[in-house]
Amino acid sequence: MNSQSEPEAAASAAAVSLLPIIRVRDLTKTYHVGDVDVHALRGVTLDVARGEFLAIIGPSGSGKSTLFNILGGLAPPTSGEVWIDGIDLRALTESQRTEMRQKKVGFVFQRYNLLPTLNAQDNINIALALSGRKHPPADFDQILDLLGICDRMRHRPRALSGGEQQRVAIARALATQPAILLADEPTGNLDTENSSAVLSILRDLNKRKGQTILMITHNPEAASFADRTVAIRDGRMQAP
């Protein structure tokens, strides 16, 4: 039974919407490689507002992929706080992190990571099936229009260009209506023209649909498409 009155509930919802959708405090991640401890993240603090398009820029080995993996629920933090859309990742079991990935996060990878045996439509459908949803959001056709892949849905990945594959991957990530879209070097395998197209699409999605996007990149040009850029180096956030 809901004990809140309607105005209270509305106020509460508004308050939640004002909270950062991603909140990270003093996040550390240490990998044990043999007898050696590798400190990939050394106290990262970060807030991402709902509807923001944030780029995290950093060189190889800076810890940006580790941050991507932790925010996406693919790896647990060693210490610190990580909140995704009101969920405290520290308290989650492996199974709960899996559920979080189903409901809250959409991934876009550098290498597209489409399932090669399924066509574009089925790559989207499998993401829907795994998240327990039967249908994509009502405006999904508009998203496909925006991505320009409506006529490529029956093709398998090997019959698609790199740019098309990445756009299918974006569609797959958005089909489950994730709270955040995490993109790891989304243009890393694309030529300039396709890179520009994909980044424009991400920016359009952010502007038109209010989709929160966190993009990891080492490319300042790609980062320039975001609302805000933060830099990471040696596992710590730095002024860009």
Binding site: N113, L115, T117, N125
Partner: protein
């Protein structure tokens, strides 16, 4: 959608899918053919026994249904048995093994005629001379033997006098006196066939004969005798089938294990993608188990088809040597064997895939 993914995965590696299913199918076929062959031989033996027309068999007391004595019984028992009440005819038969389970039966054809009634010959007629031989139609067909042709058995040349339909005593029937002389069994027989004046009194006569024969011979009714022609009554055959079944499970396990294990290695990255999309470990196991079940079911269907093909081939080429019949009641058992092997084979690869780290899997080249 998971089923679609499974089907697409299997289609994408169709050669491996086909070969795996084929190997499982060969195992299923082996089991079904073995059962069909065992039953075919037993059925043929039972039909031959019934084809003699006897109501009662008399054999040495200690002899089992499936063992053959090569003349342990004195011919003198025949007139003794013939004198018993309700016994219309008693005929002595000598059975000599040739090779494997094939035997040659010596009998006085005129006496056998009295017990079995009128014979229908496929070709030719009854034996007229001491070296005349009757063969069954399967042997004649398999060996393309015609009337008047010579056949060498037990080092003796026989002339084929007639071809009988399958299902009368043995594959080869010869005059008993010739066979006794050839095998140094003069005055000896293997068993006595008894025809009663009233078959309704069979049980009663069996009891009476067992009393008067005092263990020298054991009487058994045809019904009881034929009912013993079951795989359950042959412990060696049961053990053999158990071994073949166990081997089938092991082979099925190995084939599916290898197929699934290779699939898991090949699809490491895809497993990582599924995990990133939110697939639970059980979902990953589910995908591999479904693939294994598909292989088992496809293998099972292949196996049934192969078993049919083997049956047709064998009964066409060597109908006398290998009387194979279909064993549809064993299809569910064969399915269970294929499924057990496949599921066992999917356990380790499935567990390995489910436990794979998503990040490492995504980085897999």
């Amino acid at each position: 959608m998971i089923t679609k993914l499974v089907i697409q995965n299997l289609k994408a590696r169709w050669v491996r899918t086909l070969l795996s299913a084929l190997v499982v199918g060969v195992q299923v076929m082996s089991i079904l053919t073995l059962i069909g062959l065992s039953r075919g031989m037993l059925q043929q033996s039972a039909e031959r026994a019934k084809g003699s027309g006897a109501d009662i068999f008399l054999r040495p007391g200690a002899q089992g249904t499936f063992s053959i004595n090569t003349g342990q019984v004195s011919e003198k028992f025949v007139p003794f048995v013939a004198r018993q009440q309700h016994v219309r005819y008693a005929v002595g038969v000598l059975i000599i093994p040739l090779k494997a389970v094939t035997t040659i039966t010596g009998v006085d054809f005129n006496e056998l005629h009295q017990i079995a009634g009128r014979f229908r010959f496929v070709e030719g007629g009854p034996p007229r001379g001491p070296d005349d031989l009757l063969v069954d139609e399967f042997y004649a067909r398999q060996n393309k033997i015609g009337i008047g042709q010579k056949v060498k058995l037990l080092g003796h040349d026989w002339r084929v006098a007639g071809v009988l339909p399958g299902g009368i005593l043995g594959r080869f029937i010869v005059p008993i006196t010739t066979l006794q002389a050839l095998t140094s069994n003069t005055g000896r027989i293997s068993e006595i066939l008894v025809k009663l004046d009233d078959p309704g009194l069979t049980d009663q006569v069996v009891e009476r004969l067992n009393e008067v024969l005092r263990g020298n011979l054991q009487a058994i009714s045809m019904t009881a005798f034929v009912s013993q022609f079951s795989m359950n009554n042959i412990p060696e055959l049961k053990a053999f089938i158990t071994v073949i079944t166990a081997l089938a499970v092991i082979v099925g396990f190995l084939v599916v294990f290898l197929s699934m294990y290779t699939a898991v290695i090949e699809r490491t990255r895809e497993i990582g993608i599924l995990k990133a999309l939110g697939a639970k470990p059980l979902t990953i196991v589910d995908i591999l188990v479904r693939e294994a079940i598909f292989l088992a079911v496809a293998g099972w269907l292949f196996g049934i088809a192969l078993a049919f093909a083997v049956k047709v081939g064998v009964t066409t080429i060597v109908p006398a040597t290998l009387p194979v019949i279909n064993a549809p009641d064993w299809w569910p058992i064969a399915a269970a064997i294929a499924l057990i092997g496949a599921l066992l084979g999917a356990i380790y690869p499935g567990t390995k895939a489910a436990q794979q780290d998503a990040i490492e899997a995504l980085a897999y080249e």
